[in-house]
Amino acid sequence: MRPLEAAFWAATLLPFVVTPSYLALASQVAITALFALSLDLILGYAGIVSLGHAAYFGFGAYTAGLLSKHDFGEPLTGLVLAAIAAGLLGYVTSHLIVRFRHLALIMLTLGLGLLLAEAANSASWLTGGADGLQGVKTAPLLGFKFDLYGRTAYAYSLAVLFLLFLVARRIIHSPFGLALRGIRENARRMPAIGAPSLAHLRKVYTIAAVMAGAAGALLTQTTSTVSLEVLSFGRSADVLVILILGGAGRLYGGIVGAIIYMVARDQFASMNPQYWYFWVGLLLVAVVLFLPNGVLGGLSALYKRPE
């Protein structure tokens, strides 16, 4: 790990000391960052544009919620099971997804996301419908209760984000990760040099679904709530915006995007609870205008210029 990276991860511990009353927000930033990182794997590295990534996030969230509702509230097992469940869904859908590119792919992922959201809405006997799932109680994590300040929540989310980040980092720097980038640039040529495009894409899509499911499970467990919103189109769109804001195709893009987007939203919204979307919109337009490759893309261009 390079010194800059080590410094970044050390800095993620700062909220515990510097802003202890913002830990609930910090926890949700970490969860969103994990979700964005999972989208980055398929969008940034493998070129699979998705407008329905919340399907896996929500599937994980509901799995964790249902487990804890039926007296299986131990968070770590719940997290693993939810991630596996989302991964299974990802594996099944990947067979369909990887056959398409570009606009058709956008339509397909959007459709799958909406289908799942509508299914959850109709199955209100299982999901609680529009009122949200009732009776979700997360058991203490290794003896630590999920407190009002959000200390346990942030520590938990951050630890899971860090671990899965290391996994993603390993994948990206492996030959498999290199092959993915090749597929992104030219899916037809890669099989000719021994990288089966479709199989690789299915694999990375499943991995991304696992990570998204873990993020969803974290949200359920740290807040003890699940509602249809976890499956909504809005969540899929938000995470895409976050990734583009931070810089797609960069390991830290999703994380930086999540920090900027969520903190800006929180600050704008508490300054002006009614019209804060205006300022968020302005920020997004400004970033896209002046930093078309995202914040990280812009920073790295600045960094390279003097050389």
Binding site: S21, Y22, A24, L25, Q28, N121, S124, G129, A130, D131, G132, Q134, L148, Y149, G150, L219, T223, S224, T225, V226, S227, L228, E229, V230, G234, A269, S270, P273, Q274, Y275, W276, Y277
Partner: protein, 391 residues
């Protein structure tokens, strides 16, 4: 005696150091598709503070507003946590939507903070925190009452239900139908239409083919009531023969204007209307429309009475904002609201109020919900059933 003096002396510095403002964390929906309803609820609270001043029991009331942006319980819960730990609010209020109220209830219960639900109408919410009261309405409170009324005083034996296919629609359908059947009526058929449904003629035709004595309708406000009203007129349903029953949202101010003559003779049950004729309501509507340039609706009355309940509770506790003290003082509160007499049930902590049965009539140039019957002091029937199960 000595011990008491010593105890009092110990308490004194605390009393002197106690804050001079009382902070209310108002969790609402102020952006997104529910923003207008959220604004109306907030306007109701603002109107109350304009009419009754911004201090009570010698302390200034300060409101800290937070926007959840829709039914997002994770965001609502985070706001509730932050309001309690960072902004150090004394109590939580607002709550337009059920999922948000349910999520914040956990925080109220854990932090022992008084919580006032000013709108969310699902019955079960109130059971989630022992420090919570509600000043709006519950869906069974109106819909079961209406079902019973229709089969008894309304003299109807048959009904066909038509509801929008979403959570509140299902709940309303179940509440109305079960009460109607219990009171001796029969449901001859039912249909659910999609949430975004522009054309109702096929559904209305199906209802017409069965020629029921009455039709019960539950649809969200907005453009849909007008479309449905038009479909009734076009399909030739005679409202003198086939009675159309609905909830207050179906014939809210904007819906009535857009329905025009098509809305005439629709019978609804509801707890508030800006046209209610009593001095308190006339004054409320006057100040409200001066301040906000529009008329109040049932969201506004929830916000208004929510603030009233907070003020009265604080008067009783003399400014003490401890959760236990506040909920003890709030239980059994009774007051005269612009909607009529209302109270907080001392056991369930839920709202008790009159339910009006109204008919749409043309008064002068305006279409108005004219009340012609009233059921007094209605409790939440679902809450009563929970109470019996416990015993």
């Amino acid at each position: 005696m000595l011990r008491m003096i010593a105890a009092a002396a110990l308490l004194l510095p605390f009393a002197a150091a106690a804050q001079q403002t009382i902070k209310i964390g108002m969790i609402n929906v102020l952006s997104g598709q529910f923003a207008d309803a959220g604004a109306q609820m907030d306007n109701g609270a603002k109107t109350y503070m304009k009419m009754h001043g911004d201090s009570v029991a010698g302390k200034k009331i300060e409101i800290i507003r937070r926007d959840v942006g829709g039914p997002n319980p994770d965001v609502a819960k985070r706001h509730a946590q932050e309001l309690v730990v960072r902004d150090k609010v004394d109590l939580l209020a607002g709550f337009l939507l059920t999922p948000n109220a349910l999520a914040a209830a956990d925080v109220s219960a854990e932090a022992k903070r008084f919580m006032v639900v000013m709108n969310a109408a699902t019955s079960i919410i109130i059971a989630k925190s022992p420090y919570m009261i509600r000043t709006s309405v519950t869906l069974p409170q109106v819909m079961e009452t209406f079902g019973t009324w229709a089969a008894t005083k309304g003299g109807l034996k048959q009904n066909y239900t038509m509801v929008t296919d979403y959570g509140p629609g299902h709940d309303a359908e179940a509440a109305f139908a079960s009460a109607f059947k219990t009171a001796g009526g029969t449901i001859v058929g039912s249909v659910r239409f999609p949430v975004a449904n522009p054309d109702f003629s096929a559904f209305v035709q199906r209802a017409k083919d069965l020629a029921p004595e009455s039709i019960y309708v539950f649809i969200p406000g907005g453009a849909q009531p007008a479309a449905l009203g038009k479909a009734f007129a076009e399909r030739g349903i005679d409202k003198k023969k086939t009675k159309i029953l609905g909830s207050g949202e179906t014939t809210a101010e904007a819906a009535l204007k857009s329905m025009g003559d098509a809305g005439l003779d629709i019978i609804t049950a509801w707890h508030y209307d800006y046209k209610l004729d009593n001095p308190l309501n006339r004054e409320f509507v006057r100040v409200f429309s001066e301040m906000h340039g529009r008329n109040p609706d049932f969201f506004s009355i929830g916000g208004y009475d929510g603030m009233h309940a907070i003020y009265e509770t604080l008067k009783k506790t003399e400014g003490n904002t401890d959760g236990e003290a506040m909920i003890a003082a709030a239980k059994g509160l009774k007051w005269q609201s612009p909607r009529g007499p209302m109270s907080i049930d001392p056991q369930t902590r839920d709202v008790v109020q009159d339910v009006y049965i109204r008919r749409v009539q043309k008064v002068g140039d305006e279409y108005v919900n004219v009340p012609f019957d009233k059921i007094s002091a209605v409790k939440d029937p679902a809450g009563e059933r929970r109470k019996q199960q416990k015993q």
